[in-house]
């Protein structure tokens, strides 16, 4: 009996062995990128095999490095295409004055295991604060497990950007229907946080997880 056609995808099992130093890697159930504890390289599945993933590290105080997807974005909505920080600030009702208003805005999408609502809140806070981050000179730093895949990052980014909008816009169905975000230059970065009891603090951005 033949009904609708279904494109089959072969399921195969790939052993987690570091392609650089041949050490065995470990992985949690939800993890999508795997870091070698020997050489610190980060690997992910691509086309049925492990491929090296570049991770950018931002400088700051703290020993726990949380992974984020980081990208510049433009928003298409009723008010046109918004691709600079000034336009985005206007859209989200931010009164903050930024020196680089003509620069593209950046969105932060938490890539570590966190309940969805908390991840949206954290991403929103980081995005609307327009943090100035400096790249760390250290390489191959240990990062927390990555659980959000690159494919899913744009969807989460759209929710984070919707959460930044002022309420009048969120209550306008025509605006919502027209809303769409386009990410460019998506990359995986790590940001250091300090542990204080059960909380993780990023003092530079005044953030708490």
């Amino acid at each position: 009996m033949r009904g609708c056609s279904v494109a089959d995808v072969g399921l195969s099992v790939v052993p987690l062995i570091c392609g650089r130093c041949a050490a065995r890697m470990t992985a949690g159930k939800e993890q999508v990128a795997y870091q070698c504890s020997g050489c610190g390289s980060v690997w992910e599945l691509a086309g049925g095999r492990l491929a090296l993933r570049e991770v950018g590290h931002f400088a700051g105080n703290g020993t726990i490095r949380l992974p984020f997807w980081y990208a510049s974005f433009s928003i298409n909505c009723l008010e046109g295409c918004i691709d600079d920080s000034a336009g985005f600030m206007k859209l989200c009702g931010s009164a903050k004055s930024s020196a680089a208003v003509s620069e593209p805005p950046f969105v932060f999408v938490p890539a570590f295991s966190l309940p969805a609502q908390q991840a949206i809140r954290l991403g929103r806070n980081m995005t609307v604060r327009f943090p100035t981050l400096q790249t760390s000179i250290a390489q191959e730093l240990s990062i927390e497990p990555v659980t959000l895949s690159e494919v899913d990052a744009p969807l989460m980014a759209e929710l984070i950007l919707l959460a930044t909008l002022v309420e009048e816009r969120r209550n306008n169905p025509s605006f919502l229907a027209s809303f769409g975000a386009v990410l460019s230059g998506l990359r995986l970065v790590s940001i250091p946080f300090m542990r204080e009891g059960n909380r993780l603090i990023q003092s530079g951005m005044n953030l708490e997880v």
Binding site: D8, L11, P15, G48, Q117, S149, L162, L176
Partner: protein, 323 residues
């Protein structure tokens, strides 16, 4: 959650992974492995646990128990049996998006009429608009076709706890009939998303907009085994569906044995003849007694049932029916 059994790429031992998980550790060699191909449709198969003989026995037992007659069970002869794999869609992931609602609001106002009697009236208030971001886990399964002919196969529930294996289509097709899905991926996704959106409060909603998509999607077609057996009696064919995992008879319909009433019609006729030939009063009493007996036996005094009884037309006893 279903467990999928693979072969460990490092040591070749059986490697088990929960459905939707991306990786697991091999219990034999301790190497962590990850599942490749987490996008697209995976075909998984649940193996049958009972063979054809066990399925036949289950049906015979059911007929014997249902009709309380071993002769009756033996009167049905087995003709053929086919193993069939029925596909079920399984959608797991995270439903993410937004929902916007406009609701009517009402409030109660109290007032007094000219007699000073207090009364209440309901007044429409301004419409209430609400926006919410949606991000919640999704776990949905639905038949990939219309299986009413097979009865209610509870595969969705069973597939969540049983061990599955990656389907070897040629092997499965060689030993069984593999039903292809009639319901497409898009429809399965749509149903899953509708379930997510429909679970909220929709009382008084006059307008609703939403854009919800599935992230971290795990889409699988799980094939569930059933036995389809054919029994015959005379020139009639009786199909039976049996769950090939737990041996439950899912759908069948076997009629009971024919019963022909012989004693009661003769006794009633004899009673009436005797009564009316003796004297009219005894005839009236005999008629009343006959009516009572008819009512007791057939439950009604309808002319058709009286004729059926007196003519000795055969009646069927309750048979066995499932599904």
């Amino acid at each position: 959650m279903a467990t999928i059994v693979f072969k460990c790429p490092h040591c070749g031992g059986p490697f088990e992974c929960a459905e939707g998980d991306r990786g697991s550790v091999c219990g034999f060699c301790g190497v962590t492995s990850v599942i490749s191909g987490d996008t697209g449709v995976h075909r998984l198969l649940i193996r049958e646990r009972i063979d054809l003989n066990a399925a036949r026995t289950a049906v015979r037992k059911l007929i014997a128990t249902g009709t309380k007659s071993h002769e009756d069970a033996a009167s049905f002869s087995f003709t053929e049996g086919t193993l069939i794999f029925l596909p079920f869609w399984r959608v797991r992931g995270m439903a993410m998006g937004w929902q916007w609602r406009e609701k009517e609001t009402f409030r109660e106002e109290f007032d007094y009429d000219e007699n000073g009697t207090r009364y209440t009236r309901t007044v429409k208030g301004p419409n209430e608009r609400s926006f919410s971001l949606l991000a919640k886990p999704l776990d949905f399964s639905t038949p990939a076709g219309d299986y009413t002919v097979f009865g209610q196969v509870r595969a969705g529930l069973a597939a969540a706890v049983l061990k599955c294996e990656v389907m070897d289509y040629p092997d499965a097709a060689a030993r069984a009939t593999v039903v292809d899905p009639l319901k497409g991926i898009a429809q399965a996704r749509q149903e899953a998303l509708a379930m997510t959106q429909g679970s909220g409060d929709s009382n008084g909603s006059i307008r609703r907009e939403a854009r919800v998509r599935i992230s971290s999607e795990w889409l699988a077609l799980t094939y569930y085994p059933v036995w389809r057996l054919l029994f015959t009696r005379g020139d009639k064919v009786y199909p039976v569906t049996i769950d090939a995992v737990n041996g439950d008879v899912v759908k069948c319909r076997f009629p009971g044995a024919e019963e022909r009433e012989r004693f009661l019609p003769l006794a009633l006729i004899a009673l009436l003849v005797l009564g009316w030939t003796t004297m009219p009063l005894v005839g009236v009493a005999a008629t009343a007694l006959a009516a009572y007996l008819l009512k007791w036996r057939t439950g009604t005094l309808a002319v058709s049932s009286i004729i059926t009884l007196l003519a000795g037309t055969p009646e069927r006893s309750a048979g066995v029916q499932r599904g």
